[in-house]
Symmetry: C2
Subunit: 442 residues, 2 copies
Amino acid sequence: MTGRQLHLNLFVYPGGHHEAAWRHHASDVEHLLDVGHYQDLARRAEAAAFDGVFLADGPALADNVRHASRFRLEPFTLLTAIATATERIGLIGTASTTYFEPYNLARLFASLDHLSKGRAGWNIVTTGAPQAAWNFGLDAHPVHAERYERAGEFLEVVTKLWDSWEDDALVADRKTGLFADTDRIHTIDHEGPRLRVRGPLNIPRTPQGRPVYVQAGSSEDGRAFAAAHAEAVFTAHQTLASGRAFYADLKARVAAAGRNPGHVLVLPGISPFIGSTEAEARALHEEFDELTRPEYSLRQLHRILGLELGEEALDGPVPRELVETGGERGSGSRFQVVLDIIDRERPTVRQLLHRLAGARGHRVVAGTPEQIADRIQEWFDNGAADGFNVMPPWQPGGFDLFADHVVPILRQRGLFRTEYTGTTLRDHYGLPRPDSQYAHRD
Amino acid sequence: MTGRQLHLNLFVYPGGHHEAAWRHHASDVEHLLDVGHYQDLARRAEAAAFDGVFLADGPALADNVRHASRFRLEPFTLLTAIATATERIGLIGTASTTYFEPYNLARLFASLDHLSKGRAGWNIVTTGAPQAAWNFGLDAHPVHAERYERAGEFLEVVTKLWDSWEDDALVADRKTGLFADTDRIHTIDHEGPRLRVRGPLNIPRTPQGRPVYVQAGSSEDGRAFAAAHAEAVFTAHQTLASGRAFYADLKARVAAAGRNPGHVLVLPGISPFIGSTEAEARALHEEFDELTRPEYSLRQLHRILGLELGEEALDGPVPRELVETGGERGSGSRFQVVLDIIDRERPTVRQLLHRLAGARGHRVVAGTPEQIADRIQEWFDNGAADGFNVMPPWQPGGFDLFADHVVPILRQRGLFRTEYTGTTLRDHYGLPRPDSQYAHRD
């Protein structure tokens, strides 16, 4: 197996990515609070030699939980449970720089990386949902630019904490009684505009040095942050053109920042409906769309675009002129994706709702395994993707179809590994292990 | 098996409770970062039908890590890893009300309780180590009384969050499309002097409703807090008289608060050196004491008592007159334990250091299995304990001796279960499952 290889994550979403998937007879909705449900999904992804599993997160209850499977078990505990049931697959958790204390977050990831022997990845978010602020004593969610300023400083702090023990600081020499070489453990003495943290961390340096840094915002601030810090970027694109433009822009920014573009993977989302014929796949997709509830979907639309519409508007065109394009909402990356769909396809409200039902603005494809593999390869070969976040419409069956029928085609084409060649997420992603910034200073 | 039963936890401490245990040939110091080390210990405790495993914690690096095995993997991840390797044993983690955001802490415990099917316990601490403040942007650690004020409000907030989903709020009815009955999910709208949290939690109510509330401070503030909130109290006593006085005082306070004293378990620490003869046990204890390093132990003494002593002072008497009894340090419960040792035993500095080396002020006993069982029963029968935190001097061997030789004697005497009769930590401790405070209000 030679040549450039795809990177594939399983994006695990409670109940599946299609918003009505939990209602489908094939869903596992009865077991969404059982650890076994998640361990089983991860084992399936590991059996397919996927790079990682990925969990989204946010510290507030979604306002549409009445009709959607939208509670959120906490990612560090859930990923640890998955870690103990698997051996190789990467474990990527979302955590907020706005609503965590850096010392606590640094400890959680350091432990996860130790307990999993080097498989932790951090999807760095600033949290988009404004209602989170009210759970943390704030009157209002900090604005986008402010959140990104804190995110940059936060990342600096936790990176220092993860580096604060040099790799050889833990000695544990029974004979001399030296447990840790404190000359190789460093206070970080960070005094910034927003954070003051002395350190050191109370956990030795981890197998990967630091978790893999993942980032998922495609806004201007998000891209600048990714160019400076990210090692993998999750993104949502509906068309090859949009995917290529993003890919080229991001890789150029990475190069301009003096970093190696090969060490920043671009991984768009893809949610596949798979059938033995294209018609069968489309029928399957429609079967799921028919389970949606318009009042739920209209609320989704309101959250993304700010449009307040009732059910009487369902069969009319989307009132494009009512979408407010300025302000805080407009700086979100998902906003632009949905606006592009409206401008390109001129859908009715119902049609747009169905487009969003599949994967919240991510790309939904329906087709035969060959067709799905073609679409993946098309993006991979044409400068739009280094791999994908695979978002099964429902779980676990929607993933099995991909693993059993699409992955073998990708392998026949020499695009995806047949087995793991390394043990850490950095190994799978082809990323270097960073040195501690404090190493060899003494 | 009838009659009142002992409750036993395994208090897991990295490297063992004796401060020099990691240097002993029987220690497992090479594997303190391996998940298997901790899972194995918990499996041994579960095989002995122990009530729970308990992890201490603090968000700062101990200043004596040069000579002591004092790093700290993060408890939520570690307990989740233990949860997946066991089926019945309780999982008690320490977490700070001073240095956590309540929404984050509530999610971590809710997930742990779900993933373990009802085995979570929370050792509620306000954090004693002043250097923690510097890791969280504070100039100084908040004083004792202030920390306890926040702790009380913090507990109120997280209790509301754990209650915010009524037990039957999760519906997941495929046919109607109702996922959650939002009439049974409540914002908590907490607006207090120190915390403002809107809620609801984004996780359904857990198997135990809430984690078991554990508390370990024996100061005046600590006892008041325990009387109002705790369901189990961890405590350190050197003598039966001191244990009895504490037990009587605490149970009286619980009754005065209108709570059932039977629903607040008092669990002192005990660190046993076990031999086939008493002489053998004492020799074993000395073998460990000889591995201590005076410069480490003197630093311990400084932390507890504020005494600055050099190695030249080792063989003189403890300069009792130099101990400052007022102020912040004097309000800590461990301070009083050590002061009592000095007043009672008039030790040399070296003798005192050895007393503290065993288990940081907890009771160390050396004897035959029969003698250890006698001491346990003496406290249990004479109003000083409802059970014990068993603190093995080294791990895993120090625990095995207790499980293999002391536990059978306790069982012969009808004092300890031969197998689990329930599945949750509340079951093991004989505690009721609380109703949601929001239940049936509609």
